[in-house]
């Protein structure tokens, strides 16, 4: 069942009704049953994977907390008899047991994810290189594994929780089924956001009363998400798919247009899906973490990545980047570099090495093909370049009497960041990294060959579609600009009911008229669902 379907709409309607009829402390059970039912609707045989993750993480967290309690009790009982060093040694022993438990849990769950995601890819590579190097034509059969729905998202969310328990940031959940709801909460299962236990848990289990304002706010969010997905993303995908398929026949502005459209397609698709997820959760009084903060208005790549897929970025920062950066081995390597290669290199090593690892992993998270790793490392390269070039660009700006807070400079930086990130996105829809680099190169040649007529006819993207696409992109940009000063939904809720309901109706009408759905369209697949 897709988030964008009549079935999902009916599912939510029934659920909202039940949820507010039941009232009180048992509302979460409705959400749990609904989440499991939703998962089963999407593919019942894959439920075993999510149950394995939930169960192993649940027991690991309980085990880790058990060790902490044991340690505290032992230290309290032997407060007087144990010396400082003995206490330290005991704490270290418990910590190492907890670490082993955590390691096993991570290994198991990352192992499941990696096997499902990369086994086919690994076998394909193995077959290819064996054929090339030895001429052996006996192919190892690929099991053609299918990824269970949302596995990357729920695995990361669950591992984030168990690491937080290990760090002592949150307490382990005692009730298994409550924890299962945290892992499987249906609005976010398809493509996030990746929630933190400390944020989501209290909301899931607090009894909610029916509030019209909250329902309206949720509906605004859902409709805006549908607008992004159906009017923008699915419309633009037609042009992007065809141009990418005939990439070698098109150069210059055709490709620039494709790259520009893809930037909005992926944004509309992903953030639209997230809006639907957040809006749906809001119908049940649950506010999920925002995953986007108007990323196309970022003035640097670093800022862009703080505003795009925020929950994945902060996940990698907290659970990969920071632990690697403060890891003793990495710090010692930094010290070694400082004494052998100079202060500058030594200072950078503990930052850049984890960064390269994080970006390689981010790339791998997006997919098993090598193009995703190239994409991740390209992002890392430009981030490092941006940091290293900062003193140089500051000197140039000083000479030219320019300041970063000048309007013209802000526009230039936004323009530069937008196009750089859009060019890097090319790796998403090409087959190989080489194709990606070729496409970027080809976008800068033969600009004079562009003809709108070709777009309307051969590329099957009629004039009306082009106009609607551009108007929708402008509308999205305007809305994003307005949202600088806060959520539009919050402001609308302060207006008269007449304005509120007309806006809802207008948005619904806009989607019905201009949305890309029906025969020939596939609104079911979100791009990030495959990640």
């Amino acid at each position: 069942m897709s988030l964008i379907s009549i079935e999902f709409l009916c599912f939510c309607l029934v659920l909202v009704l039940l949820f507010y009829l039941i009232k009180g402390p048992y509302q979460w059970i409705i959400l749990l049953v609904a989440s499991i039912a939703f998962y089963c609707f999407c593919g019942p045989k894959y439920i075993v994977y999510i149950l394995v993750t939930a169960t192993t993480v649940y027991f690991t967290a309980r085990g880790i907390e058990g060790f902490s309690k044991k340690r505290d009790a032992y230290l309290a009982d032997h407060k007087e008899t144990l010396g400082r060093e003995e206490k330290k040694a005991y704490k270290a022993d418990i910590k190492s047991r907890q670490k082993r438990l955590l390691f096993l849990c991570i290994l198991l769950n990352v192992g499941i994810l990696a096997t499902l995601k990369y086994l086919d890819f690994g076998i394909a590579y193995f077959n290819y290189y064996r054929l090339m190097l030895t001429g052996n034509t006996n192919l190892v059969l690929q099991p053609m594994l299918i990824l269970p729905l949302g596995i990357s998202f729920y695995t990361f969310q669950s591992l984030g929780y168990v690491i937080d328990v290990y760090y002592g940031k949150v307490k382990a959940e005692r009730q298994y089924f409550r924890f299962l709801l945290f892992v499987s909460f249906f609005p976010q299962i398809i493509q996030g956001p990746i929630s933190r236990f400390a944020d989501l848990e209290p909301q899931l289990f607090t009894p909610k009363r029916f509030e019209t304002e909250r329902i309206k706010s949720g509906l605004y969010r859902i409709l805006f998400g549908l607008f992004k997905k159906l009017v923008i993303a699915d419309r633009l995908s037609a042009y992007v798919t065809r141009t990418a398929a005939f990439r070698e026949d098109y150069k210059g502005i055709y490709l620039l247009l494709c790259i520009f459209f893809y930037a909005f397609q992926i944004y509309g698709d992903f953030s639209g899906g997230i809006d639907v997820a957040i809006g749906t959760a809001e119908l049940f009084g649950i506010r999920l973490t925002d995953n986007f903060e108007r990323p196309f208005f970022s003035k640097s790549i670093a800022e862009y990545w703080r505003r795009w897929h925020i929950t994945l970025g902060t996940w990698f920062r907290d659970y990969i980047f920071y632990p690697l950066s403060v890891n003793k081995r990495v710090l010692n390597l930094g010290k070694w570099c400082r004494s052998h290669l100079g202060e500058g290199v030594g200072k950078r090593v503990p930052i850049y090495l984890p960064m390269i690892a994080v970006w390689a992993l981010t790339g791998m998270w997006h997919g098993s093909e090598s193009k995703y790793i190239v994409w991740g490392l390209c992002n890392c390269f430009f981030l490092i370049l941006g940091t290293e070039a900062e003193p140089f660009s500051a000197r140039i700006m000083e000479k030219l009497h320019l300041r970063n807070d000048m309007f013209v400079m802000k526009c230039y930086r936004i323009f530069k960041t937008f196009w750089l990130m859009s060019f890097l996105r090319v790796f998403d829809f090409v087959k190989t990294p080489r194709d990606g680099f070729c496409m970027i190169r080809d976008a800068f040649i033969k600009w004079d060959t562009f003809d709108w007529h070709e777009v309307y006819t051969t590329l099957l993207f009629p004039k009306e579609e082009v106009i609607v696409a551009f108007v929708a992109i402008i509308l999205l940009t305007v809305v994003s600009l307005i949202q600088r000063k806060g959520r539009i939904a919050d402001r609308l809720l302060k207006k008269s009911p007449w304005i509120q309901y007309s806006t809802l109706a207008a948005f619904a009408l806009l989607i019905l008229i201009f949305g890309s759905y029906g025969l020939g369209y596939d609104a079911q697949s979100f791009i990030y669902m495959n990640f």
């Binding site: 290990y166 760090y167 980047f321 930094g334």
Partner: protein
């Protein structure tokens, strides 16, 4: 505390560390700055800062960082 102030001013000299309480929350320090700071703190104060201590509350103000350092130096 003065040594800490010097380290902080080496990273972001423009910040008023006496009054600022949102170094992380207001995104004055990004993850680069935090890692640079942690490296400097570990070197200067001979303490070990682990991943579990990498939470915004510990780095939002000079006072918070100092409290973390005091706690670590006591251990």
């Amino acid at each position: 505390m003065e040594e800490l102030r010097e380290i902080l001013e080496g990273i972001h000299p423009e910040v008023d560390y006496d009054s600022e309480t949102g170094l992380i929350d207001r995104r004055i320090f990004d993850s680069f700055d935090v890692i640079t700071l942690v490296g400097e703190l570990m070197d200067h104060f001979d303490v070990e800062i682990t991943a579990e201590q990498m939470v915004p509350d510990h780095f939002n103000s000079m006072q918070a960082i100092w409290s973390l350092l005091e706690e670590l130096m006591e251990e």
